[in-house]
Symmetry: C2
Subunit: 336 residues, 2 copies
């Protein structure tokens, strides 16, 4: 690997001149620029990014911390950020927090130590106070899927309550009154908010909330299966189930069919996230769209604007979910 000094020597000029052509400074004569260029070519010179970062205090890197990399949700999030950043010659460092506070902190601190120009965090276990401390310390940070009061401008989130409302509203609009709800872990605020939306929709339609029809589960397929069986054991009565996410819904389908129910004729189901699996299930899954790719793009644009000073319009960081109708939700038929 050759250095800037060797290029300068070969080109017969000073390192600062080389540095100038490297960074496209205007004040360089055409002919010296050409000399430098050929010298760089001849030496196959590649600037050392690490040295550049140290000297310029800019890494042109943004860091991302998500729960897991092996997930369609976080995959499309990081994918969206990487794509739009990459288009502006910025790069991306990712790290996984595995929903564990200590791991999340290590991940975030790694990104900071690595001098990322900005970081976007999808943390689940870490406290608001910790994130606030970082913001106050001057870390350029964007927080996904979380609303920290007083720091709204640093947060990008989905209106989960509205999503829960829309899901249940759709079910009601199809004539169902006996509606079960399988929530994700209620300690997770998004799960909780979706459930609140569910309740508001019931109230809105004058349907009594029946605790027997509520059940908490993991945000997974097997969580959905288990929840369905517990619902049966309770002898709960329902013609439709609203699920905390698509994976739960997928598990419900499996369990319901196992139990002998025909789908969707004997049971309507709606999911949440509008993940790719909504198209793979049979019947295809009605779901609430979580515009995760747009949110990632928004995050990227926001950073390009505020940190790198590029001219990009960003409006709000509050996103709205939407109902996507497919085959798993149909008009209620007479109960047997």
């Amino acid at each position: 690997m050759s250095t800037i000094y060797e290029v300068a020597k070969l080109a017969g000029c000073a390192v600062s001149t080389v540095s100038r052509v490297l960074n496209h400074h205007p004040n360089v004569s055409a002919k010296t620029k050409a000399k430098v260029q050929t010298a760089m070519d001849k030496l196959q010179y590649r600037p050392n990014t690490v040295a550049k970062s140290l000297a310029s205090q800019r890494t042109h890197c943004v860091g991302i911390m998500v729960n897991e990399l092996a997930s369609s949700f976080f995959g499309t999030l990081t994918g969206a950020i990487e794509s739009t950043m990459r288009a502006h010659n910025k790069h991306t460092i990712v790290t996984a927090g595995h929903s564990d506070a200590a791991t999340e902190k290590k991940g975030i601190e790694f990104l900071i130590d690595r001098k990322c120009d900005a970081i976007v965090v999808h943390a689940e276990a870490v406290s608001d106070a910790y994130l606030i401390e970082l913001i106050e310390r001057g870390v350029a940070m964007l927080v996904m899927n979380r609303e920290i009061k007083g720091y709204e401008s640093y947060c990008i989130s989905l209106n989960n309550e509205l999503g829960g409302f829309l899901a249940t509203q759709a079910v009601i609009a199809h004539g169902h009154n006996d509606i079960a709800y399988i929530s994700g872990p209620m300690k997770k605020h998004d799960a909780h908010q979706r459930w609140e939306g569910h309740r508001r929709a019931l109230e809105h339609a004058n349907i009594d909330y029946n605790p027997l029809n509520f059940i908490e589960a993991e945000f997974t397929k097997s969580g959905g299966e288990a929840a369905f069986y517990r619902l049966l054991k309770r002898k709960a009565v329902f013609s439709a189930i609203v699920c905390g996410n698509d994976e739960i819904a997928c598990g419900v389908m499996t369990a319901a069919r196992q139990h002998g129910l025909a789908l969707p004729s004997e049971l309507s189901i709606v999911g949440f996230d509008n993940s790719p699996i909504t198209l793979c299930t049979y019947p295809t899954l009605t779901s609430i769209d979580y515009p995760i790719a747009q949110m990632g793009q928004y995050a990227a644009n926001h950073i390009l604007q505020t940190v790198y000073g590029e001219h990009i319009d960003c409006d709000s960081g509050q996103f709205k979910p939407q109902l996507v109708e497919r085959a798993s939700l149909i008009k209620r038929v007479a109960m047997k």
Copy 2:
């Protein structure tokens, strides 16, 4: 942010001493070490990773380049690598090549310029010659899903031919002789190899290869749907379809059902990859397991061993696929 100098001053010693305690050098007296520690605490000192990297020529980072981040396949690959690296305090920089030669090169070069200690590459568009050039240039690189003759030790791959063989063999074992094959793009070597395995299985069972039953598609759900319809238009006769991957299989399910076929009774289907969607389809999808997580882990361990000198056993980089039986493949029933 405080620097090593400030720590040294506060502790009343030289920077080299601070550096020693930082790097756990043995030759530091207990008491000076304590002094330095308290100074670091008081200043909330955090070493500057960039400066460290420049001085030590080691970044403790490995780079990964994959086609897309928003994919379950690449998600689990990067996830596996990140996890095992992270457990050894190494970190991960990812970049996407989008199956485009120029983008892939830029991605790889970025990782190299960023002085990653090692990189693992899942490139699709770039030439073997280019990768060889990098290896010869001394880049510590691991190539996934590709076998470069003469450089086998740098490659980690799956025996795709065997996978294709196993898939078709299973179908034959269930009594099918009229078997369609929907391949991924034949210019992709893995698609091609799977198809070769398919042919070998047919030959092995003395079944004539019928070009009418072969069709090429994109590696996507819509690719699978389109392929199925083209098969129909050709009036091809088959009681089972072997698909190049799970997404194609998923598309076939949709199209077949659309066409009025009952699954699996009227059509058996097998996929490839054993991706998460195999559990979401109905019937669940028989598939060939692609041990991508193990392969990622192997890559990480290999790097830990060869680059960082840690003691970890790695055997071979050649992995074997396995049949995973589920509900989509059943015994052939009398054709109508």
